[in-house]
Amino acid sequence: MASKGRFGKYGGQYVPEIVMPVLNQLEEAYNRYKEDPDFLAELRKYYVEYAGRPTLLYYADKLTKHYGGAKIYLKREDLLHTGAHKINNALGQALLAKRMGKKRVIAETGAGQHGVATATVAALFGMECKIFMGAVDIERQKLNVFKMKLLGAEVVPVTTGTSTLKDATSEAIRYWAAHIDDTHYIIGSAVGPHPYPTMVRDFQSVIGREIREQIKEETGGRLDYLLACVGGGSNAIGTFYEFKDDAAVHKFGVEAAGRGSAIGDNAQTLSNPDSRPGVLHGAYSYLAQDEDGQVIEVYSISAGLDYPGVGPEHSMFHDQGVVKYVGINDQEALDAFQLLTKLEGIIPAVESSHALAYLDKLMPNTKKDEVVVVTLSGRGDKDVQQVARALGEEID
């Protein structure tokens, strides 16, 4: 039995033996359905009629004029049902789970976006749903917790370890190990053991494929820069994958530089020179860890980016230089959040604001005939309260 699901030296299946049969079952089902015309047609139908695909590729004229360099386009994943790209993956995996005869889906969530997306598809397909969420995050994200409950999901508080996303993920895996017969685990990012990183990438790469088609219409195909934020890295891999062999398209994955460069003050898994590969949640990939190999709790103003690991394919792209990974701190993200809101009347998620903020560094080096696309992974309604607090306004 050889190691599977490797991206260069990264990836693999570092999970307890209990989980191996169900991973094998999942891999087999995924391989069968990923090219099955009926499955793809059904997924397409839900993408179009339920989620709202294709999403717009919006020319941000005022933002372009503001910088005075390349033309800036926004890939509007924020316009999707539930407000973020997470629904692309949740729909794909729920449909797969249905075909596999699973009656229950479970998921981990940090900020609550993936939890809401999973609870939504569970409601749509009439499946039982359990969402594992750190007790600390439940306190921080009451609105999303209530949404999930309205959608019929049970939100399970996780109080082990640091009571945040990484612990919620471990707890979801533990629950799955005990309920493999009737439960499918919908991992929310391009992380975890094989086949998850591949499967999540495939479901998200509709983003990049649409960009390719739409940019043809807009610029005749000219595209010089692609920007996306990276936590676990699902919207970024979905954006970049289609262009991985196009060396002329410069790809930037933007990580959260948080409040400083000290260990635990940021969520830079790839763009931090001190970070090195390790194993978390089933995959070998770059990992925020201390000198003894304990996984550390990372920080970002954005709850969607503060995951100590990153998808294994990103680790490979990092080593190969296919994608350049960079950091944007809390303040820069907050500034970009306000800039887009004021200039374009679009409130971006704080996660996506990290990608937007990198324009500040990129644009001075661009030419007017060049083209940049930023993936706006989600909308910022959920973040308004937190941004108000960060700006010193009380709206509670």
Binding site: S3, Y14, P16, E17, I18, G161, S170, R174, V279, H281
Partner: protein, 261 residues
């Protein structure tokens, strides 16, 4: 023959079932761990599984999670676990296997870890997040140092996987009693017993059943097909609550129950 193989041979010759006791290293501290291991040996443990605490122990239930978390907070590290082993070896030859997660070991450098582990006096490793698919290079590194890398079967392990595992297994095979994580609960041993029967047709490597065993009765129940039982959470819980005497009494009562089988 390694200490571990010797022990299982002795047990077999005597017609006895083995008792493997798990103890989290550094809980409550390094000195206590050395003492607890030696006491557990006196109480009747045949093999000690020394837990190397990891921040994200995916295969463990609440008790061992909490023990690992606290041990890390108190400063336990991989290096210190090896120091504990050296300390134990000053007065005991009980087989010692380190149970830990792969990240700590990769971080230490796996080959270096095998060299240092052998030098310290360890006999092998149990790494629950390394399934057969990922164990190839590690298996080789262990073999070079004469160490065992314990492999797993579960009630859901397919026949094909069982056969592959049986061809490479050494030391003992960790037979997980139930789909789930560590922690005491009532378990139907039927499914894992059927897997063990299958294993025994293919290899002479001893089988040890673990997960969920908390009482002498459960130990007897679990040991029917197997060569040994593994007890973790039930012991660790008592240690964490400061009831170490009760932890040792539990080991004694399990020893008696197994010896009367």
């Amino acid at each position: 023959m390694s200490r571990l193989e010797n022990k299982f041979q002795e047990l077999k010759n005597a017609g006895k079932k083995g008792l493997v006791i798990y103890i989290t290293a550094g809980m409550p501290d390094a000195e206590a761990t050395v003492r607890l291991v030696l006491e557990a040996e006196k109480a009747g443990a045949d093999v000690i599984e020394l837990g190397v605490p990891f921040s994200d122990p995916m295969a463990d239930g609440p008790v061992i999670q909490a023990a690992s978390y606290q041990a890390i907070q108190k400063g336990m590290t991989v290096k210190k676990v090896l120091e504990i082993v050296r300390e134990i070896r000053k007065s005991s030859q009980i087989p010692l296997v380190a149970m830990g997660y792969v990240n700590n070991m990769l971080n230490y450098g796996f080959e270096k870890f095998t060299v240092d582990a052998r030098e310290a006096g360890l006999d092998g490793f149990i790494i629950p997040d390394v399934p057969h698919e990922e164990s190839g290079d590690m298996k080789k590194a262990c073999a070079e140092q004469g160490l065992h890398l314990v492999e797993f079967v579960t009630p859901g392990t397919t026949d094909e996987r069982i056969s592959e595992t049986c061809t490479t297994a050494d030391g003992f095979i960790y037979c997980v009693s139930i789909n789930g994580v560590t922690g005491v609960r009532k378990i139907d041993y039927g499914p894992i017993n059927r897997v063990i029967e299958h294993v025994k047709n293919q290899t002479a490597t001893p089988c040890a059943v673990g997960f969920g065993i908390g009482t002498p009765e459960a130990a007897v129940e679990a040991a029917r097909q197997a060569d040994a039982v593994i007890v973790g959470s039930a012991v660790v819980k008592r240690i964490m609550e400061g009831r170490t005497e009760e932890a040792m009494e539990l080991i004694v009562s399990m020893r008696h129950a197994l010896d009367e089988m």
